[in-house]
């Protein structure tokens, strides 16, 4: 295990010579004093433009209905569901880093958990848009909620789509609570260091009057532990519910007990890829090299590789169980995936998710940030293709040849995908500018731990 504070010989989680004062000053200065230049503004403009596209698309969808997408029978699920599963899967990266690695007492989570949690909140928020817009009459989405309505009917408790609604609501709420509560001590730091009264009031209101008294810290630490313990089973259950949306249906290629664990692994895989894709440019542009070091990126790459291998095992299991079952429909779907009209999505998935990550076995690649960035990007593309492949290839050739049909995306399909990327980017850019991107109090704790060890 690498040391906390750096020295010449061993790689470290923090650069040399860090103290409580330097970590506080460096991280809080990003929110309080930093001037965000052209790159931030350019990114913000692009994100805003894509968001506008999403707004227009949503308006058009509400006016015309889901027919503006390329979906029809037999392929009634396509881009919107892919986007939903992709975004909610990305969310898992943050929850895993802040929950499971906290319980495992891994020090390297300290400087990446904040932005990973922010990523989770934004990704889950973006993902929630798609199932609602896909409802046909999205303005009645609250019918999913069990309330005493005048129609005297209740939600269908036995439907996995209803379970999914509960899963998203619980996941989004718990993610926001976890993220915000974990930020309170840092918001207090920003309040105390604010250059003007207006800024102090802004962060002061958000900090809720936090003072850092020992009793406050005690409750805070107990809650952190409990929330970590709750978040881990929650995130596993959420991705299992997402998988049950598919595997509860009697559709060849979906109806499989391997789906829940397979989806959990896929979510972890894409989540860690997004943590890398966001972290590598962020540490460069915000000058966070002293805090997000080579050790962090290499560790993320190792988890990415491990999760990718589990996903690859999932692919093998799917193919094996199709042949082992001797079910002619299962077999037909499996062979169609590899050779049919959408075979390029299958082979693209294999290339991105199975082959590209094999480079991560090499320590040299794990230290090369450009290579890591490209591999993580490929994984994100691969995971999107995988969802498209799983969804569309199971649907486009139904049980009887008379109900076969192709799916082609329309302009609006692509607009919604691009718009969701824009919305995510917009929220992340605002987060980077306004809120502490690294958990300052956890870095102080790390500094303290390093001091205690070295004396």
């Amino acid at each position: 295990m690498s040391a906390v504070l750096g020295d010449a010989a061993s790689p470290a989680l923090l650069a040399r010579g860090q103290t409580h004062a330097t970590v506080t000053a460096a991280i809080s200065a990003i929110s309080l004093h930093r001037r965000f230049g052209r790159y931030w503004l350019a990114g913000f403009a692009i994100a805003l433009a894509l968001c506008l596209l999403l707004v227009f698309g949503t308006g058009w969808l509400l006016h015309r209905g889901v027919g503006i997408w390329g979906i029809n029978m037999p392929v009634a699920w396509a881009f919107a569901i892919c986007n939903y599963v992709w975004w909610i899967g990305i969310g898992m990266g943050g929850t895993f880093i802040s929950g499971a690695l906290y319980l495992a007492r891994k020090d390297w989570r300290s400087s990446i958990n904040r932005y990973a949690e922010a990523m989770t909140v934004f990704a889950v928020a973006v993902s929630g848009i798609f199932p609602i817009l896909h409802l046909g009459r999205p303005w009645f989405f609250y019918w999913l909620f069990p309330y005493p309505d005048v129609m005297n009917v209740w939600p269908q408790w036995r439907s996995s789509l209803e379970w999914d609604f509960f899963a998203i609501v619980a996941y989004l709420t718990v993610s926001i609570l976890y993220w915000y509560v974990g930020m309170i001590p840092d918001l207090a730091t920003l309040r105390d260091r604010a250059p003007t009264l207006g800024v102090a009031r802004f962060y002061g209101l958000l900090a809720l009057g936090w003072r850092g008294e020992a009793r406050q810290w005690r409750r805070f630490e107990t809650l952190s532990l409990l929330l970590a313990g709750l978040a881990v089973p929650l995130v596993f259950s959420v991705h299992s519910m997402v998988a049950l949306d598919f595997s509860e249906a009697l559709v060849p290629g979906w109806h499989s007990t391997v789906f829940p664990p397979f989806f959990v692994a896929g979510a972890l895989f894409s989540g860690f890829a997004m943590v890398l894709v966001l972290g590598i440019p962020m540490r460069r542009m915000l000058g966070l090299r002293d805090y997000i070091t080579d050790v962090h990126l290499a560790n993320l790459a190792k988890v990415l590789l491990a999760a990718g291998l589990v996903v690859a095992y999932g692919y093998c299991t799917e193919i094996f169980s199709a042949f082992y079952s001797m079910d002619r429909f299962e077999l037909a779907v499996t062979l169609r995936r590899m050779t049919g009209a959408y075979a390029w999505t299958f082979w693209g998935t294999i290339l991105c998710n199975v082959l590209s990550i094999q480079l991560l076995w090499s320590a040299r690649v794990r230290r090369n940030h450009a290579a890591l960035f490209v591999i993580a990007l490929l994984v994100l593309i691969g995971m999107w293709l995988e969802r498209f492949m799983l969804i569309v290839t199971s649907l486009y050739q139904d049980f009887v040849p008379s109900s076969w049909g192709m799916y082609y995306p329309t302009f609006w399909d692509i607009a919604f995908l691009a718009g969701s990327l824009g919305l995510f980017l917009l929220m992340f850019l605002l987060f980077v500018r306004l809120l502490p991107v690294v958990s300052i109090f956890e870095l102080r704790k790390l500094v303290h731990k390093g001091e205690v060890k070295s004396t």
Partner: protein, 179 residues
């Protein structure tokens, strides 16, 4: 701050270890005072040094889990068995395995919401202002300084004696703050 108000001592230290040592010594030597300890991160052992045993977050979290889980299950059962029973090919109306997923999600949600509320309310948050924020030195309590606040508790408290004792601990500074 008016002179008639009771006063507390704000004692500043440079490190967590000094604060931890000071809290223990003041607690032993000055029985008639209440001590608070402020640090920029959770210092291990500080709560024990102050004699804090229970924080109450865990029981409330458990209660939230029960409210969320049992409540959701009860709602599902009531709606599916009594309020709106549907006979689907003679299958039981109380199909409990299908009721578990929403109940599980609401268990976690209830636990998290109650836990956060217990933390905030137990900590006296949210709060717009606190007298300690008037002390200039206290700004560094969220950065790199460690503070002990000694307040009078009971009639026998000797402020002058407490101040002299705190000075013997070699702090960086001692300030008087209003309660």
């Amino acid at each position: 701050m008016s002179a008639s108000q009771p006063v507390a001592l704000l004692v500043e230290f440079a490190s967590a270890e000094e604060l931890l040592g000071a809290v223990g010594r003041v607690r032993r030597a000055q029985p008639d005072c209440a001590i608070e300890a402020y640090s920029p991160f959770a210092v291990e052992g500080l709560d024990e040094a102050l004699g804090v045993r229970h924080d109450g977050v865990a029981p409330w979290t458990l209660l939230g889990a029960l409210v969320g889980g049992v409540g959701t299950y009860a709602l599902e059962w009531y709606s599916a068995v009594f309020n709106y029973p549907i006979n689907v090919g003679g299958r039981p109306t109380a199909s409990w395995p299908a009721f578990i997923p929403p109940a599980l999600e609401m268990t976690v949600l209830g636990a998290a919401v109650f836990g956060v509320l217990a933390m905030l309310i137990g900590n006296g948050l949210p709060r717009l202002h606190h007298p300690l924020f008037d002390a200039k030195a206290f700004e560094r309590a969220s950065s790199d300084r460690f503070f002990m606040v000694v307040r009078a508790q009971g009639q026998n408290f000797d402020m002058q004696g407490a101040r002299e004792f705190c000075e013997s601990l070699a702090p960086l500074s001692i300030n008087e703050v209003s309660q």
